[in-house]
Amino acid sequence: MTRSVIDPITRIEGHLRVEMEVEHGEVTDAWVSGGCFRGMELVVQNRTPEDAAQIVQRICGVCPVSHAHASSIAAEKAYGITISNNARIVRNLIEGAQFLHSHILWFYNLAALDYVNPLNALKADPEDAVALAIEAETSMNTDFFQLKNRLKTFADNGQLSIFSGNWFEADGGKAYKLSPELDLICTAHYLEALKMQARSSEIAALLGGKMPHIMTLVPGGTAFVPTEQKLDDLKALVDEVYNWVSTTMIPDTLAIGANYMEALEFGKGCGRYIAWGVFENQSMQLADRYLPMGVLDEKLNLSDVEESKIKEYMGRSWYKGDEEYESPYFVTEPEFTGYDVNDRYTWVKCPNYDGKPMEAGGLARILAAYKRGVPFIKDGVDDMLRALGAPGDLSVAQSTLGRTALRQLETLYIATLMKEWVDELIEAVKGGDSEYFRAPETDTGSGTGFWEAPRGALYHSEKVKNGRIEGYQIIIPSTWNLAPMNKDGEHGPMEQALIGCPVEDVEMPINALRTVHSFDPCTACAVHVTEPATGKSFETVTNPWGVK
């Protein structure tokens, strides 16, 4: 029996450690540890709900909009406000822009390097890459000849550090299976993705004042009021991102996936799912959201969320107490006791639904939408299952590759919706609808915001008295996915997904890494200081205006 530890997990949003027991080339036990205490609930105590919606955005620079949204919904529930139709559309657009940024970033710049080897692209024949791109029906916005030349220059100058530290040589060099031509195509799209995520953030900034950490999503609606110029810019940006997503992401996914079909065989996890739903429809009902709420048991039977079934257990995490607390629960008392997988080993609490660990995220949303018969998702999933050689078999989706692949369908769906919402907003404005904000008529109450961040189900709950927050609770999606063992000793979703993963090389357990990345984990911020490279010199400036 061998221990394999990945610490830190690379290419994620935050800090995460995974410890695994490996026997006969397979993970037999696993412990996932989040290395960062946030305690944002404590920061918002005694603040106004309007302040809270701003402050909680600082939880994350990738998904601040979702936190503002969930917090605002909690405040609106507490104050009994239903937002106006224009506010609903504007908020959907800001949230959608952030989802597009996050999903594009995750797939190409975080997860893809588990499957794509840009160094192998140096061996590609650009002419064959063009032929392959045509065959795979994927986009060709980059000149493959020029890109290969630039890559070669970079490799010769030792400038490829953005690709360094990956496990390209894992499993004796057999872990990366794409042809050099497909690696070249995907490297082109990796670079284009950097531009497309920035475009998506521009949409969020246009509507939110700035990004990350927007200014216009407030309890009661939105502070964004469109002008003709802004609507025009919005339409152009949305079209640009949509055009790229729709011609690139699904074909790339299918082309990459075809080379890694074994990843359909592992990484299932707990097989139970929660989605609180995201993107409001006119009815403002959770079950009617564009990506609707749904709780799915091990047989994928669908039910509606009941708040009292959400509980948090602290017995394996660095917090005081070892009981289960029913939500909403407003106490956060950190107590670090040392890393011990037999006792407490993480800053992540252990939430459960009806006593069970649950997976949150894109897969959970897709499965909930599929079960509720959302046409775009139903058709898309059926098409993708057919392409993966398992028509109608949802169990294929419950795997490392399934979880990774199906998220692109969600990206395409959101990009499509963005176009619809822009048109809807333009029509509403043309029709003379000018209501964006509704002021509260009370300053006391309690409410919960059920929402989704790109990484999954997001819960904010607050109790407000005389305009000040008395209690606040947040359950972020990665808390569900990275949960430690529960009180019955059952592992959390990611731990379960890791158990059974084939491991050829305990130093570079690439399939475990693929599984971790399939969840898009996020745990939390930093300082950037420039250092000189060895052997390079920095020139000292003493007289800036003088002649040198």
Binding site: I12, R150, A198, K210, T530, A533, K536, F538, W545
Partner: protein, 180 residues
């Protein structure tokens, strides 16, 4: 990210226009003591100078890759950042090429580990042709135990020198900056 708009639109003097497009990116985290020297320089620069339309000033906090669109649109990108490990005393102002910055030796643990050099490298891989110039200041303490706003005395004292260095570089590029 804060973005200072150019004052040129309000000015009558439209003849003095230079067409080289320049972006100055002030980098750093204000909450981390000397790491905030970039944003502090941004504030002092905006206080002292107004810039023409072809010059864009950005306080980018800790963003790096997100600024690719700026590199795409510019002929010259100047960065102003905290620098450590040069062996110079704190407060020393330094000028260097992007390529002189250290690259990762291992994997990036998270998005937070992306560095300025990644911005320049990614831009070059994308085929962007902007020229890069880096200005920085050797710092004393960029990682306080507790989040601290402010600068250590040596770094604070040298702030005007850093700001004048930025002004001088812009002038050398032919940009008509004006003292307020």
């Amino acid at each position: 990210m804060e973005h200072a708009r150019s004052d040129a639109e309000d000015e009558q003097d439209v003849e003095r226009v230079c067409d080289v497009r320049v972006a100055v990116l002030f980098v750093g985290n204000k909450l981390m003591l000397d790491d905030g020297v970039g944003p502090a320089a941004y504030e002092l620069f905006c206080e002292r100078y107004s810039v023409p339309e072809n010059v864009q000033l950005y306080d980018i906090g800790c963003l790096s890759m997100d600024m690719l669109f700026v590199v795409d649109e510019c002929d010259v990108v100047i960065t102003v950042d905290a620098v450590d490990g040069t062996g110079n005393p704190a407060g020393t102002v330094l000028r260097f090429a992007p390529d002189a910055m250290a690259r990762h030796t291992g994997a990036t643990a998270s998005l937070h580990d992306l560095k300025l050099i990644d911005l320049f490298d990614a831009a070059a891989l994308l085929g962007y042709e902007a020229r890069g110039l880096c200005l920085g200041m050797q710092v004393e303490n960029p990682s306080p135990e507790v989040a601290t706003v402010g600068l250590t005395p040596a770094v604070h004292a040298a702030l005007p020198l850093l700001v004048e260095t930025v002004a001088a570089e812009l002038t050398r590029l032919g940009c008509y900056i004006e003292r307020r």
